[in-house]
Amino acid sequence: MKKVAVFRKEHFNAAHRIFNPAWDDKKNFEVFGKCSNPHYHGHNYELIVKVVGEPDPETGYVMDMKVLSVIVREEVVERFDHKNLNLDTKEFGSLNPTAEHIAMVIYELLRARIDQRLDLQVRLHETERNFVEYPA
């Protein structure tokens, strides 16, 4: 049982706004500050996908990184790149697009496409200095 972690890094950029529709603009500004700007703001997101498992005895791979790359591009980059997360994606139509929620959504999208015998974790950098991991 010798497990190895393999990582794939991808990036996308998007506009968003942190906003609770149940609150008025004043309360949104009090809680979320300039992140609640009604005209949106944006980020270069960097995504690091971690897959853990035992190397396959025949290939030596935990997972073919080319296959992982294609899955991440299809499920994440094509869905979110150069988009407005609040307006252009069904995932965040009614879910506040915080880094935490984006990481959780990406995890579920990838989990459905990756062998269940492999462990999965995603790390999402919203800026160079702010990043989240899921599952924690």
Binding site: H11, N13, A14, A15, H16, G33, K34, C35, N37, H39, Y40, H41, G42, H43, N44, D81, H82, K83, N84, L87, D88, T127, E128
Partner: protein, 136 residues
């Protein structure tokens, strides 16, 4: 001659869009950057000034004061903003990285003391794309 650089960060939404063109032409020229609902970036801004150190202080210019001027004249106007909609010095201009760098130069030139020579505005739109502007 010494060159001194201060690094600041901001993030913003924008859209590349020429209002004189049709939707189709904008999409042909700007691709997904023309998304009408915006997208966004983390920008890194390098401001470089040049000159000779003051014999009394050893400083080219008080870098704390330089940082304050950049924050007051640039960062507060662009951070967590929509460059197309919210920024006075970009009104009527195409919100490319090139024009943003030129606009930042003009903002700073006006507010730096005459004894301080601006040398370069280097602006990263993504970790892989940046522009430099030297004032001409």
């Amino acid at each position: 001659m010494v060159y001194l650089t201060r690094l600041e960060h901001f993030n913003a939404a924008h859209r590349l869009f020429n209002p004189g063109w049709s939707k189709e032409q904008n999409e042909t020229v700007f691709g997904k950057c023309a998304n009408e609902n915006w997208h966004g970036h983390n920008y890194d801004l390098y401001v470089t000034i040049k000159g000779d150190p003051d014999p009394d202080t050893g400083f080219l210019f008080d870098v704390k004061r330089l940082s304050e001027i950049i924050k007051e004249q640039v960062i507060e106007k662009v951070d967590h903003k929509n460059l197309n909609l919210d920024v006075d010095f970009l009104q009527g201009k195409m919100c490319s990285t090139e024009n943003l760098a030129i606009g930042i130069w003009q903002q700073l030139q006006e507010h730096l003391p005459p004894s301080v020579a601006l040398h370069c505005i280097k602006l990263y739109e993504t970790p892989r794309i940046y522009v430099e502007y030297f004032g001409s």
